[in-house]
């Protein structure tokens, strides 16, 4: 539980902090903002470029665009944004939900009835992620062709579920492990049934961990750019394909490319910003004890 509180207590830290000199704070603030600006700059510059005209976009560094939306209009005209956007949403959410449904019981049992093998199983699960995807593309393409899964949302959802499942199990496991076993025992003493134990005791404590696992997995699924590009043509193609239709055409159209890129990452970026506290809470992978 320590994790959670400390993760949230930066505000309290501020108040508790002893005699923080204002000068110290100003210097730290300046340094932090500078670093943050540098790190954020590529994204900022991309958004700025998307608001420029094409000649402006390659006319050298210029942080004040002419605020034209012409690139966005052109992008939307060439390729409807809504369809790949919906595909991305469905695939990212779908694969995350399925992965959670499979992973929660597994992580629960690993955390509360660990055996000697638990660690090995976890490591083995992670190691399945080390298989180079492109090495199995052709076999998988053939399986997908024969099962009619090519270019379907279901097919992509399945693949993304599988490739992210190990991370999901591990995150949940490390989070569940932080839940003190005594509480469960106490609940058992009180005569709670197993299902009651899970619903009334465990779930409320596990919700933050599940939430951040879910968020991380949505991000990973949204940004997956190998399978989504190669197992879908038109019907299920998500935003990664949307980007591929604007990269390197004839001529340098960086404003349009930036507009398309901004459209592709904006949803997940905004989701990330709004949920960063929830995300951070569980992102420890058991790193904090």
């Amino acid at each position: 539980m320590g994790v959670v509180q400390h993760g949230l207590s930066c505000g309290e830290n501020l108040i508790m902090a002893r005699r923080v000199s204002t000068r110290h704070k100003v210097i730290a603030t300046f340094a932090a903002w500078l670093v943050a600006f540098v790190i954020f700059f590529p994204i900022l510059y991309m958004v700025i470029t998307s608001l420029k005209t094409e000649p402006e976009a390659i006319a050298g560094i210029n942080l004040i665009p002419s605020f034209t939306l012409e690139s966005y209009v052109a992008v939307q005209q060439q390729n409807d944004y809504f369809k790949p956007f919906m595909n991305s949403v469905v695939i990212a959410l779908g694969s995350t939900l399925v992965a959670l449904i499979i992973a929660i019981p597994a992580a629960w049992s690993m955390a509360f009835s660990p055996t000697k093998r638990t660690k090995d199983i976890l490591m083995w699960m992670l190691s399945t992620k080390m298989m180079p995807a492109v090495g199995v593309l052709v076999p998988l393409f053939i399986i997908f062709r024969d099962t009619g899964l090519l270019d379907t949302r279901i097919g992509l959802t399945m693949i993304l579920t599988l490739i992210n499942l190990p991370i999901v199990v591990w995150m949940l496991y490390t989070y569940f492990r932080e839940i003190p076993g005594e509480i469960l025992e106490a609940a058992r003493m009180d005569g709670a049934s197993l299902s009651g134990e899970i619903i009334y005791v465990l779930t409320p404590m596990a919700v933050p961990g599940i939430a951040s696992t879910m968020l991380l997995n949505i991000i990973l699924a949204w940004n997956e750019a190998f399978w989504t590009l190669r197992l879908a043509a038109a019907n299920a193609a998500p935003l990664t394909a949307f980007i591929a239709s604007f990269s390197s055409p004839q001529g340098l159209f960086w404003a349009k490319l930036s507009a398309a890129s901004t459209l592709a990452i904006a949803p997940i970026l905004i989701m990330g910003w709004f949920s960063q506290r929830q995300l951070v809470r569980g992102l420890t992978f058991g790193a904090v004890k």
């Binding site: 903002w33 090495g135 930036s258 058991g286």
Partner: protein, 290 residues
Amino acid sequence: MATRQTRTLARFMMAPAVVLLLIWMIVPLSMTIWYSFQNYNLLNPMTRGFAGWSNYVYFYTDPAFYQAIGNTLMLVGGVLFITVVGGILLALLLDQPIFGQGIVRILVISPFFVMPPVAALVWKNMIMHPGYGVFADISRFFGLQPVDWFAQYPLFSIIIIVAWQWLPFATLILLTALQSLDEEQKEAAEMDGANFLNRFWYLTLPHLARAITVVILIQTIFLLAVYAEILVTTNGGPGYASTNLAFLIYRTALLSYDVGGASAGGVIAVILANIVAIFLMRAVGRNLDR
């Protein structure tokens, strides 16, 4: 305290995940192994047949093979170094009381949300481009010749791009760990007259060991498979200067359509990845058990 019943139940609950992942591992892996012993070029379906070890010999004797392994290690090592050191520094900075902490944190974690092709495109075109990039403009402002990043420092450029994507992840985990360090411990150390470096070396760093382990472990898994950034920016070149193992397999599979050769490469990569994993577990895995 685990009774027989709960143990059975636990197995039962684990089963779906384990079985699915087993299938996910065994089916592609066995197909890869099967194809790695086949002459199979997608564009030349006539030449199918048993190939013996020739695919392995072919892949292993590729002039780019050793360089690709070296580049893979450099890429993983370089990105880990930058993200861990940078992440620690950044975490220390963000742990200070500052104005607008929330916004700073949002800005710093943002690169993590950017999909790899977009990150690579933005860096390639708008930041590192020798003609129109921001870096080139800055060089010209100081009267210097712009650097052609992807021609002169291809691997380094890719390391920068990938490190930029993973720095937020490392920072977040390290920051959370840092914030769990007891305020009292810190204060006590301060009272004892320990200076900042001493405090960092004897108190903070040991406390972060576990978090660093996690960062290294998770990132290594993803970094071994980096290829999209290479494909978008340098295409593995010039020469083989930025070809890593994943990209070499990619080239064999989707440029030559040599399924046999790519499968052999895949098997080799799996073996190497497992060697790295074992090495990693030996070296840092102990931290996780504490």
